[in-house]
Amino acid sequence: MIKNVLEHLGGVAGYGIVSLCLFFALFAGIMIWTFRLKKTDLDAAAALPLQEPPDEPSAWENRYE
């Protein structure tokens, strides 16, 4: 039944416009959302990969295979 309805769906030509609007809404939403984020939070997140201890040879002794 659902398939039957979908088979006769019209307005396929409008898909481009609908998708463009959908994309624009999403993109604009993300931009607004992102620019309202706190800088301190963003900086903390950006620093995550740099948190590890530096690769000091002295700290690595006695752990070789």
Binding site: E7, H8, V12, S19, L50
Partner: protein, 714 residues
């Protein structure tokens, strides 16, 4: 605070590193062999297994799935553990991932040269291997998400988002595109036909580029570039926009591989518009990577790792500007089917994936073996010879692509095709192909230097199988004070994040594919188009086995330059029984959709034995084995039954009469050959191939042509 001690698993990372370097060398070497065969066809040594049509998919699979695949796992397994402050979820799954994935690659390296292929680009592997890929990918995904759920760092760093998007999307793509009905241990027919198969395949093919070659490597860029430069990413805000923008848009753009084909116009336009929009997030990410190095450019002069990473990100920028350009219909009219596409993908493969992988390998090895890189000088040599290799590869092949496209379309003042003989154009491109192979040689040499350097680095240090680390356990109350509906809040909710990612990637796919399948007006039926006869079915399977689709398209676009050269342009309704579609994406040789009836049977016989006998100067390989090998008719029944299952209307019981019908048609072709002074047996493979080639594109030509076609159930 409850501080926990745990150990990162370095063993599996090392295993993936070694596999990456090994397959990098193999994949590019096979590519070099294929490139040389384009000006020296005899390099296949007259063996079926080493012929261009079979090793081209071997090259692409080895580079994409073996080299980049192992490179992706290598980078993810190292960075994910450290970003999550947790060991991988399960060692068993880690090793299942490693051995399973590499066993799949070995299976590919065996089956593709044997001609066991589905012919769908980047999805050539047959159904048993497809099932294995699904199992291994599920193991990887569970391991990834399990590690994320067990993490000790509340916030998922941007790299992890890209890893999650990769795991989810590749699973969806692989399953949807691989749906097929088996017709034997290593033979299957896709459930989709013609236009629909093409749309699904290029939705897959495009997004395999997006979610196998791009998103995981963007994750690696967001981790390894800040690590190598020892400074945070330029803008975390930009990375949020990059991520959501990219994964949402990428999935829509698949139809740009099918512009001006028989695909409905609305789907083509959708693909084009979304491709152009892709520039925004892609360049956001590229600039984010490059600007991370602001104030640190002096390091780039010293550090080979940063050199490789900078070129990789620059190549990403070039490829992601070029891709949308090629997706504009008017540009695509010139570029499609030419070497331009090859140049484009190699900007991505050699520059973005290759150089990023090399950079990460040079960064990881000293850390795995806790020593210094054996020779920075050698790494610098690798950088320069690799870069030079890229230039020598890309520049000639761009020139070749544009030349090819222009020559195909050139008319004389009198309105005739200036280069009516396709071969004139092929021969004109050979010097460029030779230069391209020189570039490839440089690039492969660079990888040899890499292997030497990594080996000596490993020798000079001692491998640390596990790294001990400490971090406080993550408590539920850690997120209690978090402000809701911020991205930071979302970064602490991996399940919600994964669901949102899945939704973002599904929207585009559904909008494109569902109407394509359900709305009947998309594929107008043509009454004269009938299913293939039994002999033609087997001939088509030989065409698939030999990888003819790698060099010959079966899609005449509606341009005067093409209808003049090939004949009537191709219609969607002509392909309704094509499981799989064989439109191709490259015309090293001419289009074959209207080749049926163009030449006598004897011409095809001579041409397959020695293409230069009918087409002097041809670079097509010889196919002498087709003339001597007996046609295997044993699987005919299973194939007819499988084709009926996927929707080809063969009447019930047709399997029983198929053999007799096959014999009659084969005898007719033998008689035709005899009149062309050729004596052969009706049970040779060449007979089936001739039957298929002579059928191609004839259904709409004359009503009489349909009389020879198989009867249908209707």
């Amino acid at each position: 605070m409850n501080v926990e001690t745990f150990r990162y698993d370095n063993r599996v990372v090392r295993a993936f590193c070694l596999a990456t370097a090994f397959w990098g060398l193999i994949g590019t070497s096979v590519g070099l062999l294929a490139a040389c065969q384009l000006f020296w066809p005899g390099l296949n040594l007259e063996l079926p297994f080493t012929t261009f049509g079979r090793i081209r998919p071997l090259h692409t699979n080895a580079v994409v799935f073996a080299f980049v695949g192992n490179g992706m796992f290598m980078g993810i397994y190292w960075s994910l553990q450290r970003l999550c402050k947790a060991r991988m979820f399960s060692d068993t799954l880690s090793w299942l991932n490693f051995w399973g994935w590499n066993a799949i690659i070995v299976a590919a390296a065996l089956t593709l040269p044997l001609g066991l292929t589905t012919s769908k680009e980047y999805a050539e592997l047959e159904w048993p291997i497809d099932i294995a890929i699904t199992v291994v990918w599920v193991a990887f995904t569970v391991n990834l998400l399990g590690t994320v759920l067990r993490r000790r760092e509340k916030h998922m760093y941007v790299a992890i988002w890209f890893y999650i998007a990769t795991a989810i999307t590749v699973a969806v793509l692989h399953i949807v595109n691989s749906l097929a009905v088996p017709a034997g241990p290593f033979k299957s027919y896709p459930i989709y036909a013609g236009v629909q198969d093409a749309l699904v395949q290029w939705w897959y093919g495009h997004n395999a580029v997006a979610f196998f070659l791009t998103t995981p490597y963007l994750g690696l860029m967001y981790y390894y570039l800040p690590k190598a430069a020892n400074r945070p990413v330029f803008s975390y805000r930009l990375s949020i926009i990059h991520f959501w923008g990219l994964i949402f848009i990428y999935i829509w753009a698949g139809p740009h591989h099918l512009l001006y084909t028989a695909l409905p116009d609305w789907a083509q336009s959708l693909g084009m518009v979304f491709s152009v929009m892709l520039v925004a997030p892609s360049w956001g990410g590229m600039l984010n990577g490059l600007l991370t190095l602001r104030g640190a450019w002096d390091q780039v002069r010293q550090d080979p790792v940063l050199k490789f990473l900078v070129v990789a990100v620059t190549a990403y920028g070039m490829a992601t500007l070029e891709g949308p350009t090629l997706a504009v219909k008017s540009v695509n009219a010139l570029s499609h089917y030419t070497d331009w596409t090859i140049a484009h993908v190699h900007t991505g493969a050699l520059g973005w994936n290759g150089f990023l992988t090399f950079g990460v390998l040079y960064w990881l090895f000293p850390r795995l073996y806790h020593t210094k890189l054996w020779s920075t000088k050698l790494a610098n040599y690798h950088f320069w010879i690799g870069l030079l290799g890229m230039m020598f590869y890309l520049l000639p092949i761009y020139v070749s692509g544009v030349t090819q496209g222009l020559m195909w379309k050139q008319f004389t003042g009198d309105g005739f095709l200036q280069y009516g003989n396709f071969l004139d154009i092929v021969i004109r491109l050979l010097p460029m192909h030779k230069l391209r192979a020189l570039g490839g040689t440089f690039y492969v040499t660079g990888i040899v230097l890499l292997c030497v350097n990594l080996y000596r680095t490993a020798r000079s240090g001692r491998f640390e199988p596990e790294t001990e680390a400490q971090a406080p356990a993550l408590r539920r109350s850690d997120s209690a004070g978090e402000k809701r509906w911020t991205h930071r809040w979302l970064e602490g909710l991996p399940v919600t994040f994964t669901v949102l990612t899945t939704l973002a990637i599904l929207v585009g796919g559904l909008v494109e594919i569902v109407p394509m399948f359900l709305i009947k007006s998309n594929v107008p039926t043509l009454a004269s188009v009938k299913p293939y006869t039994p002999l033609e079915v087997l001939g088509r399977d030989l065409y698939i086995r030999e990888g003819c689709v790698g060099c010959h398209s079966q899609m005449v676009r509606p341009f005067r330059s093409e209808t003049e050269r090939y004949g009537e342009y191709s219609k969607a309704g002509e392909y309704v029984y094509d499981h799989p579609f064989l439109w191709g994406s490259k015309r090293t040789g001419p289009d074959l959709h209207r080749v049926g009836g163009k030449y006598p049977d004897a011409w095809h016989y001579n041409h397959m034995e020695d293409p230069t006998s009918t087409s002097p100067g041809s670079i097509m390989p010889h196919y002498p084995w087709l003339l001597t090998q007996k046609l295997d008719t044993a699987p005919l029944k299973a194939r007819i039954a499988a084709l009926r299952k996927v929707g080809v209307p063969y009447p019930p019981g047709y399997e029983d009469t198929a053999a007799a019908e096959l014999k009659t048609q084969a005898d007719q072709i033998v008689a035709n050959l005899k009149s062309g002074m050729i004596t052969t047996e009706p049970d040779r493979e060449i007979i089936a191939l001739i039957a298929y080639l002579q059928r191609l594109g004839t259904d709409i030509k004359t009503p009489a042509a349909t009389a020879t076609a198989a009867p249908t159930a209707e």
